[in-house]
Amino acid sequence: MPVTSSSFAVSPAGAATAPAPPPPALRLEQVSKRFRSSDAPGPASAPPVLAPLDLTISPGEFVAVLGPSGCGKSTLLRLLSGLAEPSAGTITIDGHPPGQGDDLAYVFQDATLLPWLRVDANVETLLRLRRVPAAERARRREAALALVGLADRARAYPRQLSGGQKMRVSLARALATEPRVLLLDEPFGALDEMTRDRLGEELLAIHARQRWTALFVTHSVAEAVFLATRILVLAPRPGRIAHDLRVELPYPRTHDTRRSADYLRLVAEVSARLRAVDPESGTGVPPAASSSAPSPAP
Amino acid sequence: GKKDAAREGASDGLTKITVQLDWFPEPEHGGFYQALARGWFREAGLDVTLVPGGQQGLIVNQVIATGRAQIGQGESVTTLLDTHKGFPLLQVAAVFQNDPSVFLLHADNPVRDFPDLDGRRIMARPGWVFLDFLKQKYAIDFTVIPFNFSVSNFIADPTFIQQGFYIAEPYIITQGGAPAPRFLKAWDAGYDSYGVLIANRDWAEKNPAALRAFLAAYIRGWDDYLHGDPTEAHELMKRDNPKNSDGFLAFSRQMIIDEKLVVGRDATDSSRIGRLDPARFATQIKILEDLKLTPPGALQVEKVMSTAFLPE
């Protein structure tokens, strides 16, 4: 049940693809997660958020994660980053347990900028933690800010930024670390389509140079197909991998890729699969019932 | 003037003595200040520093016991108790032949005598042995509220009864606009306590000559303060306690003279200044034993006081 190995595009994802694959960048074995219910003080009684799942990701893969709201995407990323611990199963990242010796950056779903630092200092935060020398820090900061188009807002405080600007600062902060593993939780969610596309292309360009392994949560199927080498479609309740698909579109992917028939076909197909994973997800009630919902004001 | 400069100048060859006073400088310290002003300590080869009291005045015996001062002024029964606690204290001279602590009452207060205190409220220092003594002797009980060095409550409240030094407080009370108070004097209840000079016993044993010289100058100072010109001593007191007014200094000195506190209430001349009577100490020890504050025989007169350092 966990993985629907699926033949798609050129080949289904899986260990069988390449002979003697490189040691995996990320590996999950029978990982599950349930949260303690805050009301019952006893042992976990809430249903599991992630079902036991297995997953192997090779170095340099760009994996997009799709799935309905609340299905466990962020939880999966938190587990990989070591911010949360699995209830069962083991995780290895670059051969280490999460949070130990790995070189990883995580763009959270919220921008989480430090309100007392200006934009430029926020971008440098992670570099400071890694004790990157000041000159190098400045160089990377400038480049990252330019990349996300906020060079002119470098001296602003977070509370002076728009929502999309904050997310871009957060993205710049992660990219500046040039990690080996990059976890991105809807980094483009608050951005307009044009900025999104531009940043997507930039991201691919950087990936081509730096070859980090990426796990990219998005709600845009088009974005997933455009960016990823592989797409995981999660099904909810409990979170599990419903489809594990390889995207074999050629590189470099450019603006033209978005117009190619292959691309459009893939987008349509992934969309269909995504819609199929959980027919009752999204809204909990059928339209008939909900039409009696909020009624006219008295 | 000149004497002042001399006193401040050389201290070489002089024996240093620190004296802890029990309160801010006032005429009750007349002996010290007169001797200081006249240069008699210096003449005796002593370099004397007088440390004003305030809160430290409450812990004179601790100050002496820990060696921060060699000599201090205090009250004899309390000092006996402290000696029993193991403090190396020796009572070496009288300041006042009777400790001037009394109860102050308004003139029209219905309390006329100690038994009338039953059920009353008194502001006094908790722990003052006299309070226990009264309760036992007259089989009475009263409420104590802590003494706060102020007579404000007394002035404002015509029923108020409080502890006080009757050589000082009456002046402040009348200045505050209230009529002169009445007193219930401790010695009238048979509480026969001295105002005393206390020395660190170990220091006294090692420096008998210095102590003897000190006491001689001190007694001479008292005599001169009471019978001579107090102006210079008062100037020094004002320097160390700017709140001393001439009126207050004159009043307090006059009270000490009129009440014969220093020379003795039944004395005819100054010959008893500083004298201690071992028999009275025996009485005081008996009081403590009766109150079960010290076990019988724990205190012996010859161990707690000495007349050996007084001038012949």
Binding site: S38 | L58, K85, M123, G127, T143, S152
Partner: protein, 263 residues
């Protein structure tokens, strides 16, 4: 070594070490100064002798402390709401509240005795005065530090000023209020002791801890004096523990100072 175990062992070890250090210090003093730091056995002896009396005194002082503390908590909560309700009110009243805190208790003791009367009423009032201010400052700061986005929510919802105050600022200020309560809880018993020392009353021979301390101090019973102070500490710790417990109950579900168990 197991972290759980360490969490118990280390404080105990430190405690033992401190006791040993105390004892060593006692013995290192010149004999004439030893009374300043009684030995542990002297302390134990003091507790043996004065224990029952101290318990009675502690009950007195604890009641006054609790009354003053409760009064301070209630008045501070109301005062803070008032202060936070408008800049104008704050600019007008805050200085007087500060002034209230700056009244030197030691100086107003005679006035308290005259107007309020010695004993419990004055002791409660002084405890109130001592504990009130940290509560007001913290709570007001909390009421003012509310998240700007939440304020926008309430403004958008056309909340009345009192709704903003009671439904938004008040719950948001709870963590600050509890910080203030924790300070006040520590100050209350010791404040009550001090108050008893200054404006207490031995009415009926029933002394509070402060008057006891005065008595012991006058009689030079230093070990008993230390014992009295220790009893005051125990009261303080008890009150802090109670406040921490309530704080946990109120905050642990949602406030970040009580992390969600995620592991």
């Amino acid at each position: 070594m197991n972290a759980r175990l360490l969490r118990w062992l280390l404080p105990l070890a430190l405690f033992a070490l401190l006791l040993a250090g105390w004892q060593a210090l006692h013995h290192s003093l010149a004999p004439s100064r030893r009374f300043l730091l009684p030995s542990l056995s002297q302390l134990a002896e003091a507790f043996r002798i004065h224990g029952p009396a101290l318990l009675v005194a502690a009950r007195h002082t604890a009641l006054a402390a609790l009354a003053g503390f409760a009064l301070a908590a209630a008045v501070a909560a109301l005062a803070s709401l008032l202060l936070a309700s408008s800049n104008l009110v704050r600019a007008t009243l805050y200085p007087y509240l500060m002034g209230l805190q700056m009244v030197p208790i030691i100086i107003i003791a005679p006035i308290l005795i005259l107007w309020v009367g010695p004993g419990a009423p004055s002791v409660i009032l002084v405890t109130f005065l001592i504990t009130f201010f940290p509560l007001v400052v913290n709570t007001t700061q909390g009421l003012l530090s509310v998240d700007r986005a939440h304020l926008d929510l309430f403004r958008m919802g056309r909340a009345a000023r009192w709704q903003e105050l009671l439904l938004l600022r008040a719950p948001a200020a709870l963590p600050y209020f509890f910080t203030g309560l924790r300070i006040a809880a520590i100050l209350a018993p010791i404040g009550a002791l001090t108050a008893d020392y200054l404006v207490g009353s031995s009415s009926g021979g029933r002394l509070g801890l402060g008057m006891s301390a005065l008595l012991f101090s006058a009689r030079n019973e230093i070990p008993a004096l230390y014992a009295t102070a220790l009893v005051g500490c125990v009261l303080g710790f008890a009150l802090v523990a109670a406040v921490s417990g309530i704080s946990w109950l109120v905050l642990h579900r949602w406030h970040d100072s009580y992390p969600l168990s995620d592991k």
